[in-house]
């Protein structure tokens, strides 16, 4: 094992140069995907509009933080900027603290209310915190993605974020593994938010360990919005055609 792992470690070390502060860039292997987004492609090129639904179980920000902008906002402005002539709407649907089984019941309603061509489904955190059976989680997610696809939407999965201070309290890895399994069998992209943010933390691009509000929130969310916009444009083959 040693003969194999030492070169591997060197490769990993070499692959993580220090990024400049406030830089969203991550290595390609963290964000590349083989999956396509055919409904997004069609809607952008023929109807010149994109209705995107961001579905999450994150609670609303409260107090001073309630005015902070999150990644759906940045995703929308980024896509509007880069896809001229396409009417982009991003709607954030939050179901605070609900597990996948509870959220799955409402999927038909979300589809009929907003008619999205793309659902960005951020999931896994609540389930990891509560220790829901990862296998059952995978099956519920698979059924949910199938329902969204039947309803005419493309899907991008977004896993839990990298939260260094709570990392030891619950283990999100089994849920990300199940998301990867669903993303491969259903042929949809998985945006690995955990690995992306971990990369930023390790390279010092952002300080992710602050106990209090230090202004990192919007910087991180702007970068996530931008990377997901990149992913949408690449997976829907929109670059060069619609893109400016």
């Amino acid at each position: 094992m040693r003969t194999f792992s030492v070169p591997l470690l060197l490769v990993l070390l070499a692959a993580s140069p220090y990024a400049a502060a406030d830089d969203c860039d991550v290595p390609d292997n963290l964000v590349e995907t083989f999956a396509r987004l055919p409904h997004v492609d069609l809607s952008a090129k023929h109807d010149h509009k994109l209705e995107i639904l961001v579905l999450s179980a994150a609670p609303k920000l409260s107090g001073e933080a309630s005015t902070l902008k999150s990644y759906p906002y940045y995703l929308e402005s980024e896509l509007r900027e880069r896809l001229k002539g396409v009417d982009v709407h991003v709607f954030a649907q939050s179901e605070p603290r609900k597990t996948i089984v509870e959220v799955a019941k409402d999927l038909p309603r979300f589809l009929s209310e907003r008619q999205p061509v793309l659902v960005i489904w951020q999931t896994g955190t609540v389930e990891a915190m509560r220790g829901i059976d990862p296998d059952g989680y995978g099956r519920a997610l698979d059924a949910g993605v199938a329902a969204l696809q039947r309803g005419g939407a493309d899907v991008i999965l977004v896993n839990q974020q990298f939260s260094p201070r709570t990392d030891f309290m619950f283990d999100g890895a089994p849920y990300t593994e199940n998301m990867r399994w669903v993303s491969q069998t259903r042929d949809i992209p998985l945006f690995n938010r955990y690995e992306v943010m971990k990369y930023w933390g390790e390279t010092g691009a952002f300080d992710l360990t602050a106990l209090k509000n230090d202004g990192t929130y919007e910087k991180v969310h702007r970068c996530i919005g931008r990377l997901i916009a990149d992913l949408v444009i690449r997976a829907a083959s929109l670059s060069g055609t619609v893109e400016r």
Binding site: D133, S163, Y217
Partner: protein, 387 residues
């Protein structure tokens, strides 16, 4: 492992248990680059399987002898005493876990992690959480293998009694129980009652019993089979196929897409998936075949740190969990750079080895003092006596 004689200690058990303790520590430090070295990245099973199997093996070996020589009651009492020690160790770790959570929850208000604050909801009612934890119905991550041992050991006396008389019958019963539990989806429920144990004891008992069965002569009886060429070839083939499959999982972008029939990952760890079980058995068969009982390296200096850790497994396991909390604390408070991850990993292992060496030294001093050493410190994780 069939060459074990009552007089000699099988150092392979200590060596591999020590190795699995190191791996468990490295894997428990969140987002640690050094965990790339551990076995879980190169195959289906991980250090947990190694640990449960060896614990079953040593428990049957040691307490089986006690039960044979001194009767069921004394043997059962020794086993239950061990279960109690593991319970105390579990509560000890729980205190550290709660302390770190309490610290973070009272200082943490970064809006970036609003969603993760949900974990603190459990601690709104400390009375409920503490009582549930003491009743093994609230199990923090990373400590959950200890409750599995407590349950396995508590129910071990009658199993061992029967195993000394009808080992094959017990093995078949254990296999049947594994399947029945799978079919009926049995597991122990955890607070807040919508989920269950991460290590399902109804499934993991099988590996523990297989370990015990091997220790009580099973391995010797099937040694012609496990040393036969077809079985060895099958094991090598299985491991050779599992490694790239597991590695492809870690590099989704590089390896691209696998055909649908190969999509067996992720494997069910909670229910001890058969893929994982066979992967572990394949490794065990190859180890028995190619690492002889009296292999020279087991007595060499570089194997010594691992063997020392393996000989004090309960203490070193607990220390490892505590060190993984501390390493995590350093990585968040000081720096999470890769150099720091490597540094805390090495420091952690050095501390584990030092502690194990001190315990061995103390045991030795006590023994030379002419007084019998206190029995509690004489035993390894499952009571492997050093003599």
């Amino acid at each position: 492992m069939h060459q074990v004689s009552p007089a000699g200690r099988d150092l392979r058990l200590d060596f591999f248990r020590g190795l699995s303790l190191w791996f468990i520590f490295l894997d428990h430090v969140p987002s640690n680059i050094v965990s790339w070295f551990t076995v879980r990245n190169y195959g289906f099973c991980d250090a947990s399987e190694v640990f449960v199997f060896i614990s079953g093996y040593t428990a049957a070996f040691v307490y089986g002898r006690v039960m044979k020589e001194r009767g069921f009651v004394i043997g059962a009492a020794r086993i239950l005493k061990r279960a109690w020690q593991i319970y105390v160790a579990f509560v000890f770790l729980l205190v550290f876990y709660f302390a770190e959570i309490a610290y973070v929850s009272s200082h943490f208000s970064n809006p970036l992690y609003t969603e993760e604050f949900g974990i603190f909801d459990f601690f709104q009612k400390p009375d409920v959480v503490l009582i549930e934890a003491l009743m093994l119905r609230f199990l923090p991550a990373n400590v959950d293998v200890l409750p599995l041992y407590i349950v396995l050991m508590t129910f071990f006396p009658p199993v061992l009694w029967l195993m000394l008389r009808k080992p094959d019958f017990v093995l078949l019963g254990s296999i049947a129980f594994y399947f029945v539990a799978k079919v009926f989806d049995w597991n122990l429920v955890l607070y807040p009652y919508d989920h269950s144990w991460f290590f399902n004891p109804f499934a993991w008992q099988l590996l523990f019993v297989i370990g015990g069965w091997c220790a009580l002569g099973g391995a010797r009886r099937i040694s012609p089979l496990i040393n036969s060429r077809p079985v060895l070839a099958l094991c090598v083939l299985y491991l050779a196929l599992a490694a790239p499959l597991q590695l492809s999982w870690l590099f989704p972008g590089i390896t691209g897409r696998l055909p649908g029939w190969l999509m067996i990952l992720p494997l069910d760890k909670t229910g001890l998936s058969g893929w994982r079980l066979f992967h572990f058995l394949a490794i065990a068969i190859l180890v028995i075949r190619f690492v002889p009982f009296d292999a020279k390296f087991l007595r060499s200096n570089w194997a010594r740190p691992l063997i020392l850790c393996g000989q004090h497994s309960l203490e070193i396991f607990c220390l490892g969990v505590f060190l993984s909390f501390s390493a995590h604390f350093v990585l968040t408070e000081v720096s999470s750079l890769i150099a720091m991850q490597i540094f805390v990993s090495f420091v952690g292992i050095a501390v584990m080895v030092t502690a194990a060496a001190l315990m061995a030294w103390y045991k030795d001093v006590e023994r030379r003092g002419g007084k019998p050493p206190p029995s509690a410190t004489q035993e390894g994780f499952e009571g492997v006596t050093a003599s």
